[in-house]
């Protein structure tokens, strides 16, 4: 009986193993899935878009971009969406008062009662005499011709992409070697500007691509310096175009000069004749993204990697520009991943990406001294004005008091709500 039982058990076992091996063959396939987001554009007609360029209900900050300080107001770009108008009468308690819908917006500048902003490829002028009742005034088409829409979608001449519908999608893939699933990329060209003097025309961050000096708005697209006469503020007129070079990034005004940052270097333009900017100097560096600011004697250029600019440098270059026609590298300081920067007196502020915010004593540009570093956030750009430092970070808009040059005291934070 026992022998019979063992024989039966063995047969069952052999059968089970055979079945298992058969079944395993179909069960031995690895399954790799890729989950990503598909974006579908939402279009509106240009007429609808222009009608909606006005002070709308305040929104939460979700994706902060560039900043512009004008009097008691902060204009904060919501990337590709529009502009937050923030009442900063009390820097300890900034209040978002309105949101101006400008699809495709990345850059802003303000002069007098007019806000200038890019709308994808176009430039729009918005009357902000009462910032809470902003009104669309004018659109100049095709100022930034290389500004593409995202994800391969290009709107036709009568429509504008105003939003994206996001939908998560999971697909099965054969192997990771085939998984070069990169979402198409938003091409981002943009730009506001800065002014060393009082905020008559306002102050922008160093990442700006717009700059206002007196009655002229200067803007850079990927390869050109554009000059607009804004004597009649609500009716900007394009009056000059200078071919600067390729991969232009930022523009920074100082006195009668424009410092233009490009992937390959810094260009200095004289605007002593404001209608006809003329190149007076150039400083070449290794390929990298490089916002630039300047004072009477030196230009401060941060170079960072990790973008289309290429290169692998993360440094601060201090360049002596006493002789504008022949700038000379004074010193290079290693950084982590520097982006925007600002300077007020001897204090130099650097947004060092994931390494946070750094404040240096730059009394001696050959030997700048780190006075204070705040970590724990990822910073992009800054404006220093009147002992108040505005910092745009990934998680919000911060304001710091730097009246004590040895430290930074946080005044407020408008939190990003993604």
């Amino acid at each position: 009986m026992s022998a019979f039982k063992n024989t039966v058990m063995k047969k069952i076992l052999i059968l089970a193993i055979s079945c298992s091996v058969f079944l395993l063959q179909s069960c031995l396939k690895d399954k790799l899935t890729h989950t990503y987001t598909i974006l579908t554009p939402v279009y509106k007609s240009k007429t609808e878009v222009y009608a909606n360029i006005k002070s709308n209900t305040p929104r939460e900050i979700q994706s902060p971009g560039k900043i512009f300080l004008y009097g008691n107001y902060i204009f904060l770009n919501e990337i590709d969406k529009g502009v937050h108008i923030i009442d900063n009468s009390n820097p300890a308690r900034p209040v978002i008062k309105a949101f101006v819908d400008i699809p495709g917006n990345l850059d802003i500048a303000v002069k007098g009662n007019t806000l200038y902003a890019d709308l994808y490829t176009d430039l729009v002028a918005v009357d902000i005499t009462n910032p809470l009742q902003a009104t669309f005034m004018k659109c100049i088409a095709n100022v930034f011709p290389l500004r593409n829409y995202a994800n391969g979608f290009i709107a036709d001449s009568s429509r504008v992409i105003v939003d994206w519908i996001k939908r998560d999608t999971t697909v099965e893939i054969q192997s990771q070697q085939n998984t070069i699933f990169r979402r198409d990329v938003l091409f981002a060209s943009s730009g506001p500007a800065a002014n060393a003097a009082l905020p008559v025309s306002g102050i922008s961050g160093s990442m700006a691509r717009f700059s206002i000096v007196d009655n002229y708005l200067y803007g850079v697209n990927r390869s050109q310096l554009l000059t607009f006469n804004i004597n009649n503020a609500n009716d900007p007129q394009r009056i000059a175009t200078n071919n600067v070079g390729w991969n232009i990034e930022t523009i920074y005004p100082f006195k009668d000069k424009l410092f233009i940052g490009s992937v390959s270097g810094m260009f200095i333009y004289s605007i002593s004749n404001p209608t006809s900017p003329a190149r007076v100097g150039q400083f070449t560096h290794a390929s990298a993204c490089d916002p630039v600011i300047a004072d009477d004697n030196n230009a401060y250029i941060t170079l960072h990697d990790g973008t289309w600019c290429g290169g692998n440098k993360n440094v601060l270059d201090v360049v002596n520009v006493t002789n504008l026609s022949s700038p000379v590298l004074l010193k290079t300081y290693p950084m982590t991943h520097p982006h925007g920067l600002a300077k007020d007196g001897n204090l130099l502020f650097i947004c060092d990406g994931r390494d946070g915010l750094k404040m240096y004593d730059a009394a001696n540009p050959s030997n700048i001294i780190l006075k204070k570093q705040i970590t724990g956030f990822e910073t992009y750009d800054a404006i220093a004005w009147n002992n108040n430092l505005l910092v745009v970070a990934k998680d919000g808009l911060y304001q710091y008091d730097y009246s004590d040059p040895s430290t930074l005291v946080e005044r407020s934070k408008l939190t990003v709500n993604r």
Binding site: S20, A188, D305
Partner: protein, 188 residues
């Protein structure tokens, strides 16, 4: 999983306190191969626990080089049968998590990529043959089975642009890896 491990230990302590039979510590240590759609890979395992009659239960860990090196951490249970002298067959079932050895996986071709691996489910089951050696519980173990591990990779990609902040996108890869497991081990 923490609760599961605790329950296993607690169950054995309970059995131990009431046992008529001897409960002994037992350790299974394996080296073997994993065969699947991807290329063959090496594996090492150690499972330590208690033996009671024909049952064994314990906690295991090891190294699993299949596709992405990982560390499985699991609870294991075996049941012996068809005992003939010092030899017997046993079936096994393991369940737990597979922890990636390397968490960061920044994709080199994309500066902005920020890939990270995360743990996923691990389980296996199979049939073993135990060949006792000597008077102690020393034994050679042969084991064939089916093994599954799940690894999750999440990438936050900063889409390159000229002027930050650059737009970001996130994506996720799920690696559900199914393998035939062949192991040779030593029990003591």
């Amino acid at each position: 999983m923490k609760y599961f491990f605790t329950a296993v230990v607690f169950a054995f302590l309970t059995i131990s306190s009431n046992a008529q039979h001897k409960i002994v510590f037992s350790s299974q240590n394996y080296a073997g191969l994993l065969e699947g759609e991807n290329k063959s890979a090496f594996q090492l395992q150690t499972i330590n626990g208690f033996k009671y009659k024909t049952w064994f239960a314990g906690l295991g860990t090891g190294l699993d080089w299949y596709y992405q090196r990982s560390i499985p951490m699991f609870a294991s249970i075996n049941k012996g049968f068809l005992k003939k002298g010092e030899r017997n067959l046993f079936i096994s079932a393991d369940g737990g998590l597979s922890f990636p050895w390397k968490r960061d996986n920044a994709i080199e071709w994309n500066y902005g990529s920020n890939g990270k691996f995360y743990p996923g489910l691990y389980w296996s089951s199979g049939l073993g043959y135990k060949i006792g050696i000597g008077k102690n519980s020393d034994a050679v173990l042969l084991h064939v089975g089916y093994s599954y591990k799940h690894l999750i990779e999440k990438n936050t990609i900063v889409n390159p642009c000229f002027n930050p902040p650059c737009p970001e996108s996130t994506e996720r890869y799920d690696f559900r890896l199914r393998r035939l497991s062949l192991k040779l081990g030593w029990n003591f």
